[in-house]
């Protein structure tokens, strides 16, 4: 079963009232299979973030549609989705615990005992239990990325969408985030994340979606993409030139 079905997304942006719009997505289509980890590969400015924003309706496509579990995006389906944007900015005056409470309160209504349990669990999972009462303004970049992940995992979602979750992190930070993603993968969660760090993709992803200049040039199992190449890096370089033609 497909957790997400993206069909023929096209999007243009106009940079001014009298300027010609620039098309950034061209008939983008792919599926995310339930329970599998899918990586979204592409260079900077190729349309990864715009695609993710279109999927979650932060940006409205000119054409195309996105289905979550065969239905349009609704409040019910949002309850089953965890999301972390690229370079998230957090309200610095909140503590880690208050930040999680804010996001918990925006979800389904439940008891404060249930929240405490879930928050402690999420903080433990991202190794931030000691920073529970620390203000987010005092967090390092790696810690912010992890608290962002904790927020995304708080409601025990079925689908996790992450935009560049390891970009800008030091090796330790990257390792921790990757460990968390591995753990979620083992638990059977559907993961979809974008990155241009191909080594991370190679370790984690069952499937790949490759985008180049706003067009999907490959979608399918990682093994198929890597066929006849020593690693994902080499496969990406070789395939991108061939498939873009």
């Amino acid at each position: 079963m497909d957790a997400v079905r993206v069909q023929n997304l096209s999007k243009s942006f106009s940079s001014g009232a009298f300027r010609k719009p620039t098309q950034v997505l061209f008939d983008v289509s792919f599926n995310l299979i339930q329970g599998r980890t899918t990586g979204f590969i592409g260079g900077n400015g190729q349309g990864k973030t715009t695609t993710l924003k279109c999927i979650l309706e932060f940006v409205f496509p000119d054409k195309g549609e996105v289905l979550f579990w065969e239905k349009n995006l609704s409040k019910e389906s949002r309850l089953k989705i965890g999301y972390l944007p690229e370079r998230p900015y957090f309200y610095g005056y909140l503590t880690a615990f208050e930040f999680l409470k804010l996001h918990w309160d925006l979800g389904k209504s439940s008891s404060s005992k249930e929240f405490k349990e879930s928050a402690d669990q999420a903080l433990q999972r991202v190794d931030l239990s000691v920073a529970r009462d620390l203000k987010l303004s005092q967090f390092s970049k790696g810690m912010l990325q992890r608290i962002g992940l904790a927020q995304a995992l708080l409601h025990k979602p079925e689908l996790l969408i992450l935009d560049e979750p390891v970009s800008g992190l030091d090796p330790d930070g990257r390792w921790i985030v990757k460990e968390i993603l591995h753990e979620q993968k083992k638990m059977g969660m559907t993961l979809f994340f974008s990155s241009h760090l191909l080594q991370d993709m190679d370790d984690l992803c069952d499937d790949l979606v490759v985008i180049d200049h706003g067009r999907i040039i490959f979608t399918g199992p990682t093994a198929e993409f890597k066929k006849n190449h020593r690693d994902l890096e080499a496969a990406f370089q070789a395939n991108r030139k061939r498939l873009s033609k």
Binding site: F13, K75, Y89, Y91, H103, L106
Partner: protein
Amino acid sequence: MKRTWVIARNTFKELIREKIFFVFAAVACLIFLLALLLGQLSFSEQNKIFLDVSFFAIEMTMLGLSLFLGGSLLRREVDRQTCLLILARPISRFEFLLGQLLGLVLLQIIFGILLHILIWCSSGFGSGWAHFCVFLSIFYKSLMVQCFVLLLSTSVRSSLAISAGLVFYLLSNALNDLSFAAKKSKDEFFILITNIMGVCLPHFDQLNLKTSWTIENPPHADQILFFTLQTSLWSIFLFLLAYIFWRKKDLVPTN
């Protein structure tokens, strides 16, 4: 409604930490002290001068908060992309927009009431009802300006929304004067323009209760009820227009 309240509470917490809020609070306190001093200089009108200057200070600072905080409310959320994390949760854009507005309204109410209590105590505990009417008249004006600025900030840059908000406030305040000047000039185009403005803008001149005269002659409850109804209709209309633009807005930061 619960989610809207969560957003409102968070917006309030955020706005109360804004530097611009402290600047306006400091300005209000300075003018308030100035009003006390000016009152002392007068021979027999201490209380009148104190009240007039203090009410002016409240209106200006509440207008400033409406313009500067209201104009940057949505733009900041979009530019920092904080709204993405919030809107990824099961919350509609309507609830988000309403929550943002309510957060600012809450700040204005607390700020305005605190200043009014200060004035009420300093002026010798006059009629509570009269002071309340003055507060309402100032609050209603700032609420309408706030909704107007919010509407514009869904589509244009903050600076433009703030400038247009100021023009909206000035024109709405001067409708009577403009209409009078148009009639005197006998210029048909000028008369037409003022007639159109009379229909398209709220009449702030009717809400000018921020004088010591109001304290001595407080308005009747039915008059206040009329103002409340008028303000509610204008605010709802402007808010719904803002929602129409916000509903399908692409949440991408400005370059």
